[in-house]
Amino acid sequence: MPKDGGIGAPTRRREDVRFLTGTGQYSDDMNVYGQTVAVFARSTVANGVIKSIDTSAAAAMPGVLAVFTGEDFVDVGGNPAGWLINSRDGEPMKEPKRPVLAHGKVRHVGDAYAAVIAETTEQAKDAVEAIEVDIEELPAVVNMKDALSSTNYVHDEIGTNQCFDWGWIEDNRAATDAAIKGAHHVTTLELVNNRLVPNAMEPRCSMAQYNRANDEYTLHTTSQNPHLTRLLISAFVLGIPENKLTVIAPDVGGGFGSKIYHYGEEALVLAAAKKIGRPVKWTSDRTEAFLTDAHGRDHVTTIELALDAEGKFLAFRTETMANVGAYLSNFSTATPTFLHGTLMAGNYTVPNVYVNVKAVFTNTAPVDAYRGAGRPEATFSLERVIDKAAREIGMDPIELRRKNFIKPDQYPFASAAGLEYDSGNYDALMDQMEKVADVAGFEARRKASEKNGKLRGFGVNAYIEACGIAPSNLVGVLGSRVGLYDAATVRVNATGNLSVMVGAHSHGQGHETAFPQVVAEMLGIDPQSIDIVHGDTSKIPFGMGTYGSRSLAVCGSAVVRATEKIINKAKKIAAHMLEASDGDIELTDGVFSVAGTDKSVTFGEVALKAYIPHEFPLEDIEPGLEETAFYDPANFTYPSGAYCCEVEVDPDTGKVSVERMTAVDDFGNVINPMIVTGQVHGGLGQGIGQALLENTTYDENGQLLSASYMDYVMPRADDLPFYTVDHSQGNACTHNPLGVKGCGEAGAIGSPPTVVNAVIDALQSGGKNVTHIDMPMTPHRVWSAMQNA
């Protein structure tokens, strides 16, 4: 049975049936008796002092049940940063309070300063318009460079707009400076990693219920990690005891990072539900999503690459300004630091790496992890400067990368940026990429494009990332305030089917299909008899959720460990039933047998016995068949890849079209290759979107100009080519039981520099001396670059 549904089978995603037939249950689908609606009053200015708020007229409007302002939350906690970063001088980062509702000052357009609870949405909106607020607008701090020199502070109480000034690794700084000073050649590049709006298909939504009978709260919310959300609300914000708060993230329509974090709206609806004694729901509209979902990226970087005369890399030195927006979101301090700086040695044997990151407060939406989270920024900087260096020294870009790759016999490899890579083979990835992409045929295709009046370019990239965001011991040393293990409970029911409760959360990743494949393979039973339970803190063990391509590597490993415990206990029960010793029991295709005999019992018979323990050796075995495991890995996992693409540029308009895109990834072992391919497709779409289309733009007053789909350019099907995706070159992760590495973010990490490199190549082939264009490479930007070349 598991042969067509176990590990390695391209099983179709079972959850897609409900998603595609409209029977998914999202937070906004939860409607209960007596439900009310919350609508927020949000700042229309980027920076301002709240001189007064008069809610009396609003409170008297029809249908209005309560009105809240920041004043109502002065005595509760703030939404904390999850990661403490220390500056180079040893000083801890600046952590201004992030309140439930803005109090005293509004700090970005969309910052909520009041909320109305009413019977209907329209009544609540009418009442929001009736709130009389006097906000004195102040000049906005938008540009990071200006912010660092300004005395106009986003948070007056910290007296600076710099959150931290971080050096990685500070002890490497002098050696890196010396290597660059003495180098044969140094290539320098200034670049922008453009801010992105996550744009999950399902906007955020939170619905709170309060049960007066037992003082318990239930929060349905769009979260990638319900336990983390509960922990933040309980321990930091509202102080609701964890055992009195159930957080349920049902079907969630995409997150990309933006639903990792706890947001003030969740705390507001909980507090409101208790105050009015009725359920309260808030559903974000698309404008609120643009203005208040945590954005991604937004780095401004100068990177230098030092080379010797043979093209060997001697050093990478990076200076980055990272925008954290108006408030620290939960992982906003980890993203530009430990998820970025530690990857700045790339796939290379480079001996010296130094990274300086200044995190900057601005009057813009908070910025946090977004698909890839720091690693795309690292890869983009590295792979762009390497491409520029190849052009400067006249070496083929593939050859230059190969010359500096870590070789297969060098693992485990201690990178100059402080990580220990466990496995990989970057030359093999590049070989496969050259083959499946028909790189040898590029010149002929370029000539064909030229005949059609188009400039064709080829771009290449090699990436490595750190996934399975985990080891608690490691991240603890690095400043994390949470552990990063995961957990699973495998419950074998009496009739032989299974419920597997997992700490990971599926919001597009296909866990409901892939995790049963693992359990089915181990037990030798039909995967359709196994269901995954996730997203409900009252049902699942304490897990850390899904982000950083961690679910299978961390939570999947917990599933393996729990299933191993099930097998051990089931063997004991089978041994009792077969009157044999445990050590002689073998499990094959769902049947327990005594080695060397024809005596056997099925998995189902053992399950039944566990729950109807007649004639059971209760002194040796407890009834039941249910096991839990927590798994905390030894290291990150290190997926890697070789990507290339071919673009055509219309020299008359500057419009770029991606003609071919090839992604060859080492994800280690693959559980479901079809889901993996789908994950790569999604990542590539987002990466190409970042490279060519997605244009988050604030004006000098802090107004978001691209605040709707009329101006924010999401990639559409006709913006994207057919992809060639290959994961045949897997090298198993050496330290988790499945040998898996993680695939969720790879496409978004590997593709942006590939596309930019190809566009630069196309322009160079047309005789335009253009060495860099910032993303998104809109037609206007490409055309302007050609005019100035």
Binding site: L693, N695, L705, S706, D711, D719, H780, W783, S784
Partner: protein, 260 residues
Amino acid sequence: MYAFDIERPATVAEAAAALGNEDAQALGGGQTLIPTLKQRLASPEKLVSLTGVAEMQGITSNGGTLTIGGAVTHADVAGDGSYKALSELASNIGDPAVRNRGTIGGSLANNDPSACYPAAALASGATIVTNTREIAADDYFVGLFETALDEGEIITAVKFPIPQKANYQKFLQPASRFALVGVFVAVTADGVRVAVTGASNEGVHRWTAAEDALSANFSADALDGLSVSADDLIADLHGSAEYRAHLVAVMTKRAVAAAS
């Protein structure tokens, strides 16, 4: 959105009467108005839906003139095919949902400076037929979201003389997929007409220098050396005025080359 009443008249006369009320607003396919209402950016007391008016439906071709009812959807114009360049233009407005709801009368009455239909109407020398009069396209487009329509006046039909040759080239604003710059070129018995949309702060307009050059020699080469001034062109996050000026010339050449 704010609460409003809605009327669904069956005749033009009923529609005109309904629109005589203060704070009444005509509703075509609603592809601009409904999102505006949802954002609470408008608060009409009454919407008068024109989609049920039988006289405003249908497409007829007669003696080289194509008459399209004011309530005809983009999808129906796209499927008609008797004026190829116009059908192609309609087939590339928005997405299928927009094309199945949006109407030609609604688009021309709104006169968005980046919409496609205004370019077709102006370049074709169309006539805007209303419940009270006929207005030549040259007199109809007044400026940004401004037309010659009086308050409550209804576009009941649009008459397009079918040109000898025509083509529309749209360079997409990549988010909205309106025209960043769109150029409609039509070869008529009276000469070539070139209309530009998406580019100007004044809305759709004719490029007369190109018309003169193309009337003398209808080839892309005839446009060599011609350019439009960037003065008073739209500049936004998708393109500068200079870029739009450049695109006007590029799109005009492409329209000439593709005209059929």
